[in-house]
Symmetry: C2
Subunit: 453 residues, 2 copies
């Protein structure tokens, strides 16, 4: 997110005769990974895998224009009028009760307090627990202003609503933003900054009353999404047994404006955001806001359901094979989302771990990923022909999978096909069946094609 | 619903030179209530309280034109080419496990099978558990066709998506419809009928593969709504303690197309549909479809949360007064929804029952209801001045409440004011505070107006 935001800021106003509004310096950590990203950016390359060709071109343009560079030297903070903070703030889910991993974030705020120009605008863009600006960032910045005996910093909060994929950069610059300031002066300064970076004529800004309000807005947005994904899961499983195609049903429901956000059954929830953000408010209540434990029954249940979702397609296979011991499974798709290469907290990981624990032999394929860092294993990319397996599980609706021509691809093999995430078209599933494969679908009854007689 | 649908059908095609498409006979039960409704309709009056002036005028027009009458004589079924079924199918929540109350519905289907014209189109419009057409209606109709040795009936399912209130009739004729047939012939006949009654040019029909699919669609729509109401409840309670105005936050979130269905905190869920429909699929799995118990964790939790929601504003008062014993509470709004008079399963009922159980003395006011049938008590309608009470709880955002001028209305009294359902404007709440009242809000921190310093 930090890299993409840096590019967005560096290209803001590039069409003006006076040139871009800002000179942007990206700061990363002085370690091996940080160094790789810094060097990539300074060569004019976007430092992460991306399918967004605009983002890639604009990165190169900004570096060439000379108003985008990267460094691990925090002292450059002293030159900045605006500091945008995209430092991760994680949750440790391995702890007995989920706990905030605050240190890296707090260290970054200390670094800003130590080096930033007196009176600089500090915008927190990281998704944080509600109360973070008020109870963590503000005291640290105040402490440094006192220590340095300088004018205090302007503290604002404005969260991103990016969508990774082909329109990543545009999802920053051409989308609605909410923001807030610790005081009116900071809110005004943040508004003025966002007006330069974002197309606020088409996407008007929304000012909220306090940083705690806009921090809440961000985690609520992701909790809403997570809850709706979890909600539809039980209806997908019902549809499988009731011999209904829930995707067809959902198409009929989504025409209603009050119901157009309804989600569809899938393989599970992954990525960096939906897997943790819904937890932030509960943790904030306990650890940050001093209001004591707050119950979040729907949000908590949703996270649990979402985590366990990939076990359902596995259960379909286990039921089919009686036992998974020795079953050879090809898993098609390991990223957490279609058409992106991001494998962080992917539901495919849950699937593979549980399948292997039950004795299955799993091979993985993904057109966008060559190495699965989190699982430390190579990912097959030659998926041109069906591998010699007992089952093929499609976990992600990558574009490439919808191009598979069943008969050619199978070449006579007849593995069980699991469409785990609406990854195949109706026609593909029918062709797989015609070629002799048994087809199981998440969210669809086995013979929904057949009209009840 | 049956009465409104009868008017919609009777007025379909009224603008044609040939006149309306259909002659409509409404059939009700031969009991006292049914008789009252039948007589009202035959006088040209819509037989329920309604704020829809169009519906009232069109009822009168249809009766005058002579193509809408009502009767309790089921033998008129023999004249009908199309039978639309709007007979209630309820759930008995007082049973150990929620159980279907099938008898009245089954009796109606038997009556249709006994009397209807051979080959007539029977459209089930009642919200029913998935599988009802397939496993209940179809066998009964088949049984009668065999018994009568006549050609079989055409069975279709098409559910309503009406919205009670000022545009009730329009919500039938100018809105999207999904439908299905037990076979293609029935589906075709249903499509042709709906094309006459509904503006399908603007709101195209959506045919689903089976009655079980469209039955599922209907209950899923209401379960989705119920789940989203339950979801936001916990965030409203968090906001109250975190000193955030969740309504402000939600305004900022709803601009996102993927999040525009997000709900806002409120007083609870009532009415005939959202309180029971989410339960239908679980019951159907167990009792109708033969697929065994199916878990619906999110939907079940949502119903539980929604039922208990009115206890939260009561808890706010209990905390404020330490005890509710002897506390005099005026409850403003007893219908289940703003600007309607329908009190069925109203959350206000839950509030009153629990408040009185805890020793409070509750007086009720509603601009649209004079007598609360379910609670068998008179409802005050003189709400022109604040009654002499310790607290006034606004439970419904009726239009009339937003016209209250705080200082005049209070006339020097200073009860605690609870805005339980975003019933008051920001200005009203501020004026109540200025007049000396303590104001508590569901979904808002106590001093959200004050910016943190």
């Amino acid at each position: 997110m930090g890299s993409a935001m840096a590019v967005a800021c560096a290209r803001a106003g590039a069409e003006r005769t006076e040139g871009p509004w800002f000179t942007v310096i990206g700061i990363d950590l002085p370690n091996a990974q940080g160094r790789l990203r810094i060097d990539a950016l300074n060569r004019g390359e976007f430092p992460f895998a991306s399918t967004d060709t605009t983002l890639i071109a604009e990165t190169s343009a900004a570096v060439q224009t000379g108003n985008l560079t990267a460094t691990d030297d925090s002292s450059v903070l002293s030159q900045a009028d605006v500091v945008v903070v995209d430092v991760p703030l994680d949750i440790d889910f391995t702890a007995t009760t989920p706990a905030l991993v605050l240190q890296p974030f707090e260290r970054a705020i200390h670094t800003i307090g130590e080096h930033a120009k007196p009176g600089a605008l500090v915008i927190i863009e990281t998704t944080v627990p509600p109360g973070t600006c008020e109870h963590i960032v503000k005291p640290i910045l105040k402490e440094w202003a006192t220590k340095r005996d300088c004018s205090s910093f302007l503290l604002a909060h404005s969260y991103e609503r990016v969508m990774p994929g082909e329109h990543y950069l545009e999802s920053i610059t051409a989308f609605w933003r909410a923001y807030s300031g610790a005081d009116d002066h900071a809110a005004d300064a943040c508004e003025s900054f966002l007006n330069k970076v974002i197309d606020t004529e088409r996407f008007p800004l929304k000012r909220l009353s306090s940083p705690t309000a806009s921090e809440t807005a961000k985690v609520l947005e992701n909790a809403y999404r997570a809850a709706n994904i979890a909600f539809i899961n039980e209806w997908g499983q019902f549809a499988e047994k009731a011999n209904v195609d829930l995707y067809e049903v959902i198409d009929a429901i989504r025409v209603r404006p009050t119901h157009n956000n309804i989600r569809q059954p899938g393989f599970g929830v992954g990525g960096y955001c939906l897997t943790k953000d819904p937890e932030f408010a509960a943790i904030a209540a306990r650890d940050l806001l001093g209001i004591g434990p707050q119950p979040f029954p729907m949000s908590e249940l949703a996270m649990k359901i979402n985590r366990e979702m990939p076990l359902h397609p596995l259960a379909l296979l286990e039921k089919r094979f009686n036992s998974l011991r020795g079953a050879r499974i090809a898993l098609a798709g390991i990223s957490y989302r279609q058409d992106v290469a991001d494998t962080r907290y992917s539901p495919s990981q849950t699937f593979v771990e549980e399948a292997e624990r039950k004795g299955a032999i799993v091979s993985c394929f993904d057109p966008l990923v060559a190495h699965w860092d989190e699982m430390n294993r190579a990912v097959g990319f030659d998926f041109a022909q069906c591998p010699d397996v007992d089952a093929v599980v499609f976990a992600v609706p990558h574009r490439e999978f919808r191009l598979i021509d069943a008969a050619t691809w199978l070449a006579g093999r007849t593995p069980v096909i699991v469409d785990g995430n609406d990854s195949l078209t109706n026609e593909q599933r029918a062709l797989f069946q015609r070629a002799g494969c048994e087809v199981l679908s998440v969210g669809r009854g086995i013979d929904v094609e057949r009209r009840p007689t």
